[in-house]
């Protein structure tokens, strides 16, 4: 008995002295806007980082919405622009793991939920932005240089407002709408190569906001970055010196209790040849009004003309704090058999974490 106890004691001491990999960097704080890394092999079905890819539908300009009220759920609904019968319409798809979307497998085609059928809309819809308002889903979209609104109780059947809810003398595109913690609505939109802001109390009647009321002009909250002339050796020029667009509005209250008005956007820079290069950038401000400050580093830069960011976030683990997992959806170049076409790819933050293998595609739309 004594020998057995001695052996057990030695074994326990031995176990206590076994080394392990070091940690110390779990669940680090983040603003929730990356930087992101593109998804890799087992994290998606098919060719990474693409999650919604069709050479005929040309999926692009995604907007994401949590499918469940549970903040730990990875079930997400994605709306995106697709080419249908020669026109651009808005489709709806969903995934149980944030990656394996219905429509990703052969033979499955996400249904169109919105198409241009109002006289003011012209032929095409673009720039969808979905958010939950009470028990309804509000879908803002751009058409014919103005912003329209459609509402739905199930996210599938939408009822449109008969007229645009927001229009200006100059064309506007890519609306992104979010609600502040006090219930007010804010919209960021693109116009003339810059990003502007509008406000509303009910999400229907909108007024423009001037980022700098001290000047007579209507000032954007974010413009193209001035080009740098004194670059250090190895330093890259800014990625958004030509134009900014496709805003994604992500307001939040920081752990310090401050309103942080976060915007992800597409930054364009003139390329030596061909179309402008692009990357996804991040700009923000503290408080209710004023211009945004940009981070000089892009949150995603793949050199594939990535654009039109959408984000889905969820909470993983035992944390009781804010979301700590972030999926970024953008459209980017995909190589087809004969040409390059847009498809929706995904990236993830925190970059140090590898996602488990992708789940099966949903069976039904």
């Amino acid at each position: 008995m004594t020998r057995l106890a001695t052996l057990i004691g030695i074994a326990l001491v031995g176990c206590a002295t076994i080394g392990s990999d070091g940690q110390g960097d779990l669940e680090l704080p983040t603003s929730g806007v990356g930087p992101f890394r593109k998804l890799g092999g087992p994290e998606v079905h098919g060719v990474p980082p693409f999650v919604l890819d069709s050479q005929s539908a040309l999926y692009r300009e995604p907007t994401a919405l949590a499918q469940d009220a549970d903040v730990r759920s990875t079930r997400v609904v994605l709306y995106a622009v697709a080419s249908a019968q020669g026109h651009d319409a808005i489709i709806r798809t969903h995934a149980d793991d944030g990656r394996s979307f219905y429509g990703g497998s052969a033979g499955a085609s996400p249904p169109v939920v919105l198409k241009a059928d109002q006289t003011w809309e012209g032929a095409d819809l673009s720039g969808p932005s979905a958010l939950r308002v009470g028990d309804q889903i509000y879908m803002y979209y751009a058409a014919n240089g103005a912003v329209g609104l459609a509402r739905s109780s199930d996210g599938v059947v939408f009822t449109k407002s008969a007229a645009p809810v927001f229009s200006l003398p100059e064309p506007i595109s890519a609306p992104s709408v979010a609600r502040l913690s006090d219930g007010r609505f804010r919209m960021a939109y693109a116009s003339r190569g810059a990003i502007y802001e509008a406000a509303s109390d009910d999400g229907v009647a909108w007024t423009t906001l001037d980022a700098d009321p001290s000047t007579p002009a209507q000032d954007p909250i974010l413009s193209a970055a001035p080009a740098r002339t004194n670059l250090a050796p190895g330093e890259r020029p800014l990625f958004d010196t030509a134009a900014v667009g496709d805003p994604l509005l992500l307001p939040r209250v920081t752990p310090a209790g401050r309103l942080q008005f976060r915007v992800l956007y597409t930054g364009f820079a003139n390329a030596e040849a061909g179309p402008p290069s692009s990357a996804i950038g991040f700009a923000a401000r503290f408080g209710d009004a004023g211009p945004l400050m940009r981070n000089p580093l892009p949150v995603l830069s793949l050199d594939k003309h990535e654009a039109a960011p959408a984000v889905f976030s969820w909470l993983q683990g035992e944390s009781s704090s804010d979301a700590n997992r972030f999926m970024l959806y953008v459209h980017m170049d995909q190589k087809g058999t004969s040409a390059v076409y847009p498809a929706i790819g995904a990236a993830f933050a925190p970059v140090s974490i590898t996602l488990p293998s992708a789940l099966a595609f949903p069976d039904a739309p």
Binding site: A16, T17, I18, G19, S20, G22, Q23, G24, D25, L26, E27, L28, P29, T30, S31, G32, V33, G34, P35, A232, P233, G234, E235, R236, T254, P255, A256, R258, Q260, F261, F282, A283, A284, R285, F286, L292, M293, R294, N295, L297, V299, G317, E318, S319, S320, S321, D322, N324
Partner: protein, 442 residues
């Protein structure tokens, strides 16, 4: 009494945090239970760290071995960051004697981590990390000291502590096939060294009376450097020959110099009170930021690069944002009560407190060296068995300690709203428990 009041007043003005595993978690269960306030009173193996002069007070050969484990529960925004525990074997010896009639002692102190002997991490300066807990405490400590007592009221001691720096070289040569990567033939050579570095420590103890003693201790500064070189030279698909040299040099851990002023009072036959003030020169701290120096040469092949292949460019050099730290004075207070003191056995009870104000300036910019003030409350118990066998003439001592350190949660706010990390709260607590078994021969 006036000295005591002065010490307490100084405690109220001062502050700090810690450095290597012993600075943070103490050495030996008795010293830890007394809140680290033991420089004027120490006489066992832990004098190798607290005050080498105390070795000369040893009554006989002493061998000690113990184990402690400190678990961190440090959180940002309410989420545990998984900071590794610090655990391992602590021990040492004290060998007293006389040289030319003068009491003399030699001591060895050792902390041997059981997870890893040393840990090297060179992170981007923007990455949040618990600067004083995450990495620097994961290392070996070894100290060798000598002490003399030229008069009964004076002890002098000094010695060296040993740490190790890391140097490494990686050479890659051969052929890289861009079009069929599996056909690449590359040779790798690795040469890594852990080079020893030493830093001094000195101590003096003066007994003002049978009841009062003072101590002064100096611990030298050291920095553990991390120097890595990577060299790549090879043929790329027969197109061109690439040369790539990377030199990474950084300070992996930095221990600032320290001065300890200690006092010990025997309030009665059973009760003693100790207080230490440790000045830490944190303002000399060198931030452990990875600094890369890269030299890349890939001449374009004749006729230019094939379509779809773009040679990599050299990244811009890291612009290191200075880490501002402030010198601190850390107060330690400890009380010991000889609850039972029979000839054949005894029991001591101990209690201690330490307040370490964070030396790191508010992280409002791009860097994220997280730290918080730390309050540590410690308790401990010690048992003694004397002459318990006819073979061993001496005392068998068993000491145990438990320390609860609280780092009150506070908020870090950023100046730049487009900071990728943003505002965050940080705080938590640390548990430290352990025991030490000592054989003291007469």
């Amino acid at each position: 009494m006036r000295a005591m009041l002065l010490a307490i007043a100084l405690c109220g003005l001062s502050a700090s945090a810690s450095a290597n595993p012993l600075d943070t978690f103490g050495f030996g269960s008795r010293g830890v239970a007394l809140g680290g306030a033991t420089s004027a009173e120490v006489r066992d193996f832990s004098a190798n760290y607290y005050n080498p002069a105390g070795l000369a007070r040893a009554q006989g050969l002493e061998l000690a071995v113990g184990y402690f484990r400190a678990d961190h529960f440090l959180k940002t925004n309410g989420s545990d960051n998984g900071v590794d525990p610090v655990k391992g074997i602590s021990g040492g010896l004290v060998a007293p004697g006389k040289v030319l009639g003068v009491p003399f002692a030699f001591g060895l102190g050792l902390h041997l981590p059981d997870d890893r002997i040393s840990r090297v991490r060179a992170l981007r300066q923007e990455q949040p990390r618990w600067e004083l807990y995450d990495n620097r405490n994961q290392r070996l400590y070894l100290a060798a000291n000598l002490a003399v007592s030229p008069t009964p009221w004076l002890q002098l001691g000094g010695g060296l502590s040993f740490m190790s720096s890391t140097e490494g070289r990686l050479d890659i040569t051969g052929q890289a096939n861009l079009f069929a990567p599996t056909d690449s033939a590359l040779r790798h050579e690795v040469d890594a060294n852990l080079t020893a570095i030493r830093y001094p420590q000195l101590g003096v103890r003066v007994a003002l009376s049978d009841r009062v003693a003072l101590a002064l201790v100096y611990r030298g500064q050291f920095s553990l450097s991390l120097n890595l070189r990577a060299r790549l030279a090879g043929d790329i698909s027969g197109l061109t020959t690439a040369y790539y040299n990377l030199v990474e040099s950084s300070i992996n851990a930095f221990l600032p110099q320290q001065v300890v002023l200690g006092q010990s009072w025997k309030l009665s036959k059973r009760v003693s009170l100790n207080a230490d003030l440790t000045w830490i020169n944190w303002s000399a701290y060198v931030a452990p930021v990875a600094k890369l120096d890269v030299d890349l040469s890939i001449p374009p092949p004749a006729g230019g690069w094939p379509a779809g292949i773009t040679p990599p460019s050299v990244p811009a050099a890291t612009r290191v944002v200075p880490l501002v730290m402030h010198d601190r004075v850390v107060p330690h207070v400890g009380m010991e009560v000889h609850a039972v003191n029979e000839p054949r056995w005894g029991v001591d009870a101990r209690i201690g407190y330490e307040y370490a104000k964070s030396p790191i300036a508010a992280q409002t910019g791009p860097t994220n060296y997280i730290d918080r003030d730390r309050h540590s409350v410690s308790v401990g118990i010690g048992g003694r068995l004397s002459d318990f066998t006819s073979v061993l003439n001496g005392d068998l001592l068993l000491d145990a300690h438990l320390v609860w350190s609280v780092l009150p949660t506070a908020t870090t706010t950023k100046v730049d709203p487009s900071d990728f990390i943003g505002d965050y709260t940080a705080g938590g607590h640390v548990w430290n428990a352990g025991a030490t078994l000592t054989m003291r021969f007469r």
